[in-house]
Amino acid sequence: MENLSNYLVISSILFSLGLFGVVTRRNGVAVLMGVELILNAANLNFLAFARFGGMNMSGHVYALFVIVLAAAEAAVALAIIINIFNNFNTINIDDVSEMKQ
């Protein structure tokens, strides 16, 4: 736990799992979960580098901004998904290929 590489490897694994979710899932909400995993992995990296770079607080501030962006992204993405559901009656993103029905 006193080693930078441990955290980097954990965040790489989390990032890859999130990427796997984004590319293989068909449900819009599940894709959103993959994106959240990716953002969390990035945050873990920021904080690990901050901690092992002599407690550099800029990393913490960047992580805070990432959390803000994640919250805004989740709200807008869910609004879009609910709109898609109202218009197409499905949230399978493979079926949603028309701009206008």
């Binding site: 909400v29 959103l32 807008v76």
Partner: protein, 162 residues
């Protein structure tokens, strides 16, 4: 003791993250996402980021996860039991992502990272506040505009037009 806790939490985080992307039921995915978020919070505590850990719990577990569960409930008929979802092209995706993970892990492990000597854990809230109000004032204000825009945009998007 701390080492054992660290590895236990890391394993819990990764296993639940794997469950998030592989579970058949969307609700189970959402609940294991909860465990993942809490595990990441514990890792933040190991990294001495106390303020960020609290923010993570409040925003992710209290906000985003509830929003996601709302999304699941609103986009499936409540009466239907079938809140499930499937994956496409798991094999190809797994191969590509494993290759990517290999490359990423190789870079992460083989790079000789410069580690500064360990300092003492210090309270982070004061310095984060100072940085936000002095060095990062413009991004801070931009973030508030972004949140306002997202708020209005999400409300407008999800409103029924009549």
């Amino acid at each position: 003791m701390a080492d054992i806790t660290f590895w236990f939490i890391s394993a819990l985080t990764i296993i639940s993250a794997f469950f998030v992307v592989s579970s058949k039921s969307l609700l189970y995915s959402a609940y294991s996402l909860l465990v993942t978020f809490l595990g990441i919070t514990a890792l933040y505590v190991f990294l001495w980021a106390d303020f960020l850990a609290v923010v993570q719990v409040v925003v992710y577990v209290g906000g985003i996860l509830v929003l996601i569960i709302f999304g699941i409930m609103l986009t499936n008929k409540i009466s239907s039991v079938n809140i499930s979802h499937t994956s496409v092209q798991k094999g190809v995706g797994a191969v590509v992502v494993l290759g990517f993970l290999g490359a990423l892990g190789y870079v992460m492990i083989s790079t000789p990272w410069i580690q500064l000597p360990n300092s003492e854990p210090l309270e982070t809230t004061r310095s984060i506040g100072r940085l936000l109000m002095i060095d990062y004032l413009l991004p801070f204000e931009a973030a508030s505009f972004l949140l306002l825009g997202a708020l209005i945009g999400a409300t407008t998007l999800s409103r029924k037009d009549d």
